[in-house]
């Protein structure tokens, strides 16, 4: 098991570095898909099948398609690195070192008495057993019932982002051309 985890993590790191180093956008987008798949595999090992599911479908599927279609619209412009990459590297190393220093106080991986595991005291798994009348998937129960307001908000954000994309990108369609002069006449 550990061997699989280490191999996965090494592959994740290598893929991320490859994405940073490659200049051809086509290859970068393909590597982004691979990166998503690898992180989905790791999420499966970390007991989050629901998230892994979504990450595989979103990251490797839809996100890749969107990036490729953006590339088709903007041309395969070569990605030229900045003249000096020393300053960004310095900033990144300093920030990373600070974050690693911060982890030294963190509860160890998988420890059952970490604050995350302890805080809601009858945990949601225990609470859902009585509340949900036998719905096995606690993630779904938590998503739709305990955190129902939150999910309503998230759904609205998705809707809003979709509307914004449509407002930005959709102009030269047939139906739009018919209604545009009409609206102009009304306003004048």
């Amino acid at each position: 098991m550990n061997l699989i985890v280490f191999a996965l993590l090494a592959l994740l790191a290598i893929t991320a570095v490859a994405i940073a180093q490659l200049r051809e956008l086509w290859a970068v987008i393909m590597f982004t898909g691979i990166y998503s798949f690898l992180s989905a595999s790791w999420m499966i090992i970390l007991d989050a099948p629901d998230v892994a599911f979504t990450e595989a479908a979103v990251g490797a599927g839809i996100s890749t398609v969107l990036m490729l279609s953006t590339m088709a619209l903007t041309g395969k412009a070569e990605d030229i690195p900045r003249k000096s990459s020393v300053v960004p590297l310095f900033v990144v190393i300093v920030t990373g070192a600070t974050l690693v220093y911060g982890t030294l106080d963190m509860p160890h991986f998988g420890s059952p008495d970490a604050p995350v595991q302890v805080y809601p005291d009858p945990s949601f798994v225990e609470r859902s057993e009585a509340d949900m009348h036998g719905l096995p998937n606690v993630v779904t129960a938590l998503l739709a019932s305990y955190r129902g307001y939150d999910t309503l908000g998230e759904t609205t954000v998705v809707l809003t982002a979709g509307i914004a994309v449509l407002l930005i990108l959709r102009k030269n369609e047939d139906e739009q051309d018919d209604t545009a002069p009409l609206a102009r006449n009304k306003s004048s």
Binding site: L135, N137, T151, L159, I163, V165, E173
Partner: protein, 145 residues
Amino acid sequence: MTGFPIIRIITKLLIPYILLFAFYVQFHGDYGPGGGFQAGVIFASGLILYGLVFGLHAIKKVAPPIVIEKCMALGVLIYAGTGVLTMALGGKFLDYSVLEHDVLPHWHVPSGQHLGIFLVELGVGITVTAVMTMIFYAFAGRKQV
């Protein structure tokens, strides 16, 4: 697009299973891993795959933009409508326990929390499917300038 017979045939074989799997994930989400967000994304990727292989024209016949556009809002409406319904039945907003009923108990008609989760997930699924498909239309319909 008339070439690539292998891609076309494999796509035609795969799409029913992708859509069926999306429905499974949607409606079985309370029992196994899954739910509205995942199902919406999987369903949309089935549609997008069809669009990629057979062209924007073909996919717009299957899922007309005018319908998908309405579905974007319909999903959120179902979600919020469930909340309003629970309020009308005397509970709090999105408090599904007032949805408890006794209709056909042996047919396993969802009730109470289960019914609420079912409706809400349905709304999420519809919105996510519609938004992802609409975003694909917006990008694919754009011409390079």
